[in-house]
Amino acid sequence: MVESKRERALVTGVTIFLILFSIAAIIPLISVISTSFSSKSVVDMNLVTLWPKEFTLDSWKYIIDRPDLWRSFFLTVGTTVIGTILALLMTALFAYPLSKSEFRWGSVIMVCVVIAMIFKAPIVPYFLTVRSIGLYDNPLVLILPHILNPFNLIIMRTFFKQFPKELEEAAFLEGCGYFRMLFHFVLPLSKAVMATLALFYGVVLWNQFQHPLFFLQDTNWFPLQIKIRQFITDDSVMMAGTASTVNLNYNERTLRAATVIFAIIPIIIVYPFLQKYFVKGAMLGSVKG
């Protein structure tokens, strides 16, 4: 089948458009990166576009010397790792009985899960409930509200349902109980779906903003996103520790740029390895509608 000239032109046009569109998606990032590596004077003279000028690491040195930023960083790493593990455990434990027809409460609970997904509670009663169980100004609020997501639960339940029954029946005849069944047979065979859900939970935990904003007052427990927001919006927080800005090679803007990139680095590092799982997960979700 030979493609006509017009069609080939069309495909070329579409390709060029998409390439331009993807460059546009990346350009703001590149501009921020080059700002973070440029000196204050060239930035102020509007000379920095897509490449650092008067290359300097001073903004980065300043950022990296901020203990409060590192504290937030490690707090967020910790809550993300612990939260993701807990979330996977919780989701698997709940999804497994829900995938079994012999679990009598299954259908009722599934209806509840779907209701929980469709009807979102207004934020204020949610706030009051979470506060009343002692999570106000408590760092656990960075973990506990995120350890079960109805959507992810349904994905995992669907996956468990597809398991061949014969395997389990054979194991049961050997006297294997449900707990051993789940942890020794089912979970080791569910690595793909676990990886996908780990990423979904991980991204939410890493990027969370609303919960800490609503529930945390103590600056010691500020996670990375809140800290970054403080740096971006409040120059006095960011410039704390600098006596005068006259002789410095950085200013608010280069520091802000470095802070933003600082928070993106972990995502950029893990992203290429995990992209296929993200996509797979999104497809799993779409099959369910």
Binding site: V14, P28, I228, M283
Partner: protein, 301 residues
């Protein structure tokens, strides 16, 4: 019968034990707050809780509808919701149709990777990038300077808020939104294209008469979900793009609830706002679901 029940329990008890943490979670984090929405009709007091606070009927809704802020906040929300639906929603569909036409798989992968990345950045970060991009010495002002235009602080300018809202939504999420459509496209039977080609149908006609019609049910379902979230614009996004200078156009129901409910502790009043938002969303889904069933077979239920 009793023996049977006992037997069931003896064998199946682990399933029930496993489900307990999940059930507790659903009750605490989903259903108690959902039930707590009744405080929209009460005068909530911290000491009396959801159940025992006194009923006041529609008092808070009356205050809400009489409030001068309400018209502005609701108008802003409608405006942004409308922009999201009309400008932002079609983007992933068009992108998916275009990406599908690219044959070189390395190029396709590269484009997809570039388009997906922004989705994984938080709105704090996206806000930070935008504030940098639109700052006086930022790339935007440098580029418009080349054309001899005066620099503008777009993030602090109320005229620019809505376009920035729409563009940032597209920038962050349009690429990621293609994933679902790409999955739907890849599920289309290749034989359809083969027979179309034998009949001499051009690329454009194939897209128009095969890909697009078969993609439509997916588009419809996602459109309905989007309608349900019509007033639910995403607190994180608006909050992180907002500056005091853009309040007049950027203050929406979500930020209003945050200010009145969480910061000023007007719990019942802010719950009434939230409930109003949910009810409108539910009515919209219901109406459009009915409509879409009339037009085609699709629909959510």
């Amino acid at each position: 019968m009793k023996v049977f029940a006992f037997h069931r329990l003896k064998v199946y008890w682990p399933l029930y034990v496993m489900a307990i943490p999940g059930i507790v979670f659903l009750i605490v984090f989903k259903f108690i707050p959902l039930g707590g929405a009744v405080i929209a009709f009460k005068d909530y007091s911290v000491f009396q809780g959801f159940d025992d606070s006194p009923w006041v009927g529609l008092k808070h809704f009356k205050t809400l509808f009489d409030h001068p802020d309400f018209a502005r906040v609701f108008g802003n929300t409608l405006m942004l919701g409308f922009l999201k639906l009309v400008l932002v929603f079609p983007f992933p569909v068009l992108l998916a149709l275009m990406i599908n036409e690219i044959r070189k798989s390395a190029l396709k992968k590269g484009i997809q990777t570039a388009l997906y990345i922004p989705h994984f950045l938080s709105w704090v970060i996206v806000g930070g990038i935008l504030f940098d991009f639109f700052s006086l010495s930022g790339l935007f002002n440098i580029v418009i300077g080349w054309f001899g235009l005066e620099p503008v602080l777009a993030m602090q300018e109320s005229d620019y808020f809505r376009p920035i809202y729409a563009i940032s939504s597209i920038w962050r999420d349009a690429g990621w939104g293609t994933v679902v459509y790409m999955a739907a496209i890849s599920a289309i039977d290749p034989q359809l294209y083969e027979s179309a080609m034998i009949d001499g149908a051009s690329k454009l006609r194939q897209v128009r008469h095969i890909t697009f019609p078969l993609l439509l049910p997916t588009v419809l379902v996602l459109f309905l979900l989007e309608i349900g979230n019509f007033l639910d614009l995403g607190f994180d996004q608006v909050f992180n793009l907002l500056t005091p200078m853009t309040y007049s156009v950027g203050d929406i129901l979500d930020t209003y609830v945050f200010r009145t409910g969480i910061q000023q502790a007007q719990y019942s009043f802010a719950t009434a706002v939230g409930l109003f938002q949910s009810v409108i969303g539910f009515i919209l889904v219901f109406v459009f679901n009915k409509l879409s069933k009339k037009v085609s077979d699709g629909g959510l239920w």
